[in-house]
Symmetry: C2
Subunit: 320 residues, 2 copies
């Protein structure tokens, strides 16, 4: 098949691109390289099956001509920054909601019928049902990020209903692994490089979070696209585990061979809109035969190893 | 209090404006008059407590300066056209989602803390839980209109959480009454004026819909704003009744003194995204003491009477 991938040079996007190429598919990658890295698609660029377009999903005209001929669009470009939404509310609206609208319009114009979308467990807000299934009670949004992804989900569903498309919506927990460039493991490794004696943790460290290895995430997406064929297919993607932030911090420090003193900002949330307990019920994707290969601890440690082996990602981190 | 009302010259907005003025509040009305009618605010314009600003909610700068000093914003401006979303997908995104973002940003900039918003029962899509409560299972959108309103709800909730605002979200059934200018009663009365012998009905006529009188709708909004004070307050607004489209058609014809032959387009939906059965559980707003004063049949007949007495609304209907 001919796959079109937005956010192709990003963390999850570039891992997906590599996998699709390994499977022999033709892939067009689309990325504005604002947070994506050309290094992440270095291998892909050597493949004759890969074309790369450096452009922005907010450039509707460019997107429109680029999507032409695709069998499926993996729409992974996003403002993936959950924490700092309150500092620039327009960013989530632009890069997550309006960008998704642009992708859908480009697909409609070009007769492309299948979209797979990276949504987030953040759309459940502070749900009371944990582990949270896909049909949890109507959620109340607690972050601009979650709201912008929920809006994108709604657009995809409405387009599928209105224009005979098929949509795959993946509600991710936080993803870890090779090419990971933001989030708490990144922050902790970076802080410990500067000061190995102390690690300051946002909140009280007792927030319980769930993580998934990027390879398992890509597996799950491709399993769903292969096995599910409803008009709208919604899947939680996560392991059945969660861990406390301070537990994860101790794994990270241990993997680095450090024993820092932990200090805590206090409070049960790390920032406004932080959800203190995230655990998704992933039985729907498991029913298709998918299983994660790595535990959360293995994912965290693999990520630490990758960051240590690729310290350039810290120095070259864009200011977006 | 000083109330700011978007869509102030519209159907529901102008009824709300009149009520707020009757209660002695100062009101600033904001409307671009694209579907709103200056005639609907003729009475308000004679009040010294009313200021009218003819401008668009997509004009962020104008909106920003206009909101200044308000105690509460009633954000009622919208593209309220559910049926024709597929013909211009951008319209719902612009006038419902982005417009709501603009309103929230104007409020944030000016320190205005309370927003009351006209959402819709369409956000429940084709839910299996009927009557539908506010915490029904996570819905799947079936129309661009519903998706755009869901996106606006998410933005309001995220802003309330992020910027210490308070939000009132009202999920309306279809509203009827004085100044009603679009929807099936409008269409049927208009069709019967042209040809009193035959009435063509979209779908099979068995779609079950719920309606609410605009006076009862305004009562409910003001009751909620007065009595509920959570960060986010979500209320279904509807009667406990529903009626079939062909039943409503017979009431309309009867009220006009006609006995037309009904023909049906067939199918269980009137258009793509039409929801065949809408009935909201309004026990949450009823728990605050609110009760509708008119039945659905009374609302339909009052609307027919108002349309007959105001036939100019047919000839002057804008092409927006």
């Amino acid at each position: 098949m001919h796959a079109f991938v937005t956010g192709a040079a990003g963390f999850i996007g570039s891992n997906l691109v590599d996998r699709l190429l390994e499977q022999g598919h033709a892939v067009v990658g689309y990325d504005n390289l604002s947070t994506g890295r050309r290094e992440f698609i270095a291998k892909a660029l050597r493949s004759s099956n890969f074309d790369f377009i450096e452009a922005d999903v907010l450039d509707a005209a460019r997107l429109n001509e680029s999507v032409r001929g695709a069998d499926i669009v993996f729409h992974l470009s996003a403002n993936a920054d959950v924490r700092f939404g309150t500092q620039h509310p327009h960013k989530d609206l632009d890069h997550n909601t309006i960008a998704t609208f642009n992708v859908l319009e480009a697909m409609r114009t070009n007769g492309v019928k299948i979209i797979a979308f990276s949504s987030t467990g953040s759309v459940y807000g502070e749900t009371e049902v944990i582990p949270t299934p896909e049909d949890a009670p109507f959620p109340i949004q607690t972050s601009l990020y979650g709201a912008s992804k929920l809006a994108a989900e709604g657009l995809i569903s409405a387009y599928a209903e209105s224009f005979e498309m098929r949509g795959y919506i993946f509600r991710f927990v936080s993803i870890l692994g090779e090419r990971y460039t933001h989030g708490h493991v990144f922050d902790f490794v970076q802080k410990l490089a500067k000061d190995p004696s102390t690690l300051h943790i946002l909140g009280n460290g007792l927030q319980r979070k769930s993580y998934l290895y990027v390879g398992d995430c890509v597996d799950a997406m491709l399993t769903a696209v292969e096995c599910a064929d409803a008009k709208i297919n919604i899947f939680n993607l996560g392991t059945d585990e969660c861990c406390e932030v301070k537990e994860s911090a101790s794994w990270i420090a241990g993997r680095l061979g450090l024993a820092p003193h932990f200090t805590y900002a206090g409070g049960d949330r790390g920032w406004i809109g932080d959800v203190p307990f995230i655990l998704l019920d992933a039985s729907r994707i498991r029913a298709l035969g998918w299983r994660p290969k790595l535990s959360i601890r293995q994912s965290v440690e693999l990520t630490v190893d990758w960051l240590k082996a690729n310290e350039w990602v810290f120095s070259q981190r864009g200011p977006r």
